[in-house]
């Protein structure tokens, strides 16, 4: 069942309805009412007409004022011409200041609006409705703000309810993305979020199966390909002494095949972005150890990186091996520490790489145009780049000053 959009729709429409109703109620009770103003004016005019009747004695006038006060819920006062003090008042009189008395019509004062009417003979009738007829714009605005704030408070749990589940979903997806293939999210409810959670779980299942199958395939490949190699190697051992010379080529071939299988599997594993077995690695020590196998000295600054030692070894070995294959060996091996990074520089004094090909030497099985078969770079440099990338670092080629190549691997510390 699809309910999330209904929920959102209801929340929006509901909020609008509640707001509209609150405004209507507020308006009803507090807003200035045109008809009430008119009522005051009409009734006051009628009262004035009665008060002007020459036949009306003081008792009659008092009764008229009392009646007006009662009908209009107002404080009423009648001033004699020029008087500051009312001649006649209702039960609770309203006495404006002298200058306010000068004018007639509606006047706004601190005590609220009052209606003043000049009678014949200079007398003045002052009607001050007790009910708040006019709410100041400011008050009305504040009232609306209060309603809005109240609504905002009430709708908060609704929006949290919707996003909290999305938040949980996001956390699950992130966990999966960080390599925990067993991570799944809980499916709660029957709406779109639940459907999304369900389809994420299904995709995660499929991805996990694929990756597991891939791993199994890699492991089996290695086994299935190397068992026959082992048989071949043993068979060579049984050849008579006289055939040893020709068998050495076979032994070399087997070793090359073995290395190639290893490289392809490693490259494939790195492509699968399996998590690294990271630890603090003393980079100068590791490089020195690998360089020793190539009889190369290392110039190093002390620096450690957080990485997979087996893969970093492989990276160093591949670069040194590349220098040996293509340039008769590295001329310089340096480890440098810089701001936030460790750098490994391996230089050789070989022919270097033509500018057109520099971008492509890190591609698998790259071979320079016109180069003879067997002179390819194989997977060695491709693996170097893969390992560097897996460590969030990079490798670059620059020509060495004075001819040859310089490979620089930069790894974050």
């Amino acid at each position: 069942m699809r309910r999330l959009h209904l929920k959102l729709y209801c929340a929006i429409v509901g909020t609008m309805l509640v707001f509209a109703a609150s405004c209507a109620v507020a308006w009803h009770f507090f807003a200035p009412s045109r008809s009430t103003l008119a009522e005051v004016e009409t009734t006051s005019a009628l009262a004035a007409a009665l008060l002007e009747d020459p036949g009306a004695d003081e008792a009659r006038q008092r009764a008229i004022i009392a009646s007006l006060s009662q009908q209009m819920h107002a404080d009423v006062a009648l001033f004699a011409a020029g008087a500051k003090v009312p001649a006649l008042t209702s039960h609770t009189p309203y006495v404006p200041s002298a200058d306010q008395l000068e004018r007639s019509g509606w006047q706004i004062t601190h005590g609220g609006p009052f209606y003043s009417l000049r009678l014949e003979g200079g007398r003045q009738l002052v009607v001050h409705p007790r009910r708040q007829l006019l709410l100041h714009g400011l008050h009305m605005g504040m009232l609306l703000l209060c309603i809005a704030a109240l609504l905002a408070l009430l709708t908060w749990p609704i929006s949290r309810g919707i996003t909290a589940r999305l938040e949980r979903l996001r956390a699950g997806v992130q966990q999966f993305g960080e390599g925990n293939l067993a991570a799944r999210v809980a499916v709660v409810g029957h709406d779109e979020v639940a459907a999304l959670a369900r389809s994420f779980n299904e995709s995660a299942d499929r991805i996990e199966k694929l990756i597991t199958a891939h791993k199994l395939l890699l492991a089996n490949c290695s086994h299935e390909l190397r068992t026959p190699l082992a048989r071949m190697r043993l068979a060579i051992e049984k050849l008579p002494e006289a055939e040893r010379a020709s068998s050495s080529e076979l032994v070399r071939g087997i070793a090359e095949l073995d290395a190639l299988i290893g490289e392809m599997l490693l490259s494939s594993r790195l492509d699968a972005a399996a998590p690294l077995a990271r630890q603090e690695v003393d980079l100068p020590a590791l490089v020195a150890e690998e360089a020793a196998h190539f009889d190369r000295d290392v110039v190093a600054m002390p620096v450690t990186v957080n990485g997979d030692p087996a893969l970093l070894r492989r990276l160093v070995r591949n670069l040194l091996d590349n220098a040996r294959t293509h340039a008769g060996g590295a001329t310089e091996v340096r480890v440098e520490a810089a701001e936030g990074v460790a750098r490994l520089v391996i230089e050789d004094a070989g022919a270097g790489v033509p500018e057109a090909d520099r971008a492509r030497i890190f591609e698998p099985f790259y071979r320079a145009d016109g180069a003879a078969r067997g002179s390819g770079f194989g997977l060695g440099l491709a693996i170097v780049r893969q390992i560097a990338t897996a460590h969030r670092g990079h490798v670059e080629y620059t020509p060495r000053t004075g001819g040859g190549s310089r490979f620089t691997v930069t790894l974050p510390r």
């Binding site: 089996n220 068992t227 082992a230 048989r231 150890e289 190093a300």
Partner: protein, 228 residues
Amino acid sequence: MHRILLVEDDARLAKMVADYLAEAGFRVTPAPTGAEAERRMQRETFDALILDLMLPDTDGLDLCRRIRAESSIPVLMLTARGDPLDRVVGLELGADDYLPKPFEPRELLARLRAILRRGQTAPAVDVLRFGKLEIDRAAREVRVDGEARAITGFQFTLLVAMAERAGRVLSRETLMDLVKGEEFEEFDRSIDVHISRLRAAIEADPRKPRRILTLRGAGYVFAKEQDR
């Protein structure tokens, strides 16, 4: 004559290994599955076990763990080099050594002999092993390929200090600190002299050191991976 149980599912390879080892004077019983191997183990006694990591019915690591729980028979694990972790895991589960396929037949022989030799002596608990190099802290003896090499007590202490920190750059000052308190037999000699004596004792070619490396301007590194 040593009796070897060979657990390998590839019948042709098993036969070739059996023939090869027979020529070298071993008696080899092949077992194509883990279940068969366990049956054999219960009925007969063997001097060593050659175990393939990938078996049709079980995982070689599981089998190794089960066998280790009951017996201290030396185990040489054969595996297609699949995962760099295999080696560590195999050794942690009690395999005595490990050989990746395709292997040099002579290396198989050498390693088999080595684990048989180790099996005869008391289990060495206090031994640091780096390839063919063994540093026996209990006996204060250093062996290369099973053969004891003569070094002084001070040099042994220095070697142990370095070996315990294999894979890290150690400055001369650090090394001096590490062996401080030890009796300085030859006070006037610098660390470098002792290092070159150690190299003469344990390196195949002291001019091309593989175990104790010099890092110019920084100090020394005791290699973590030796004889690979």
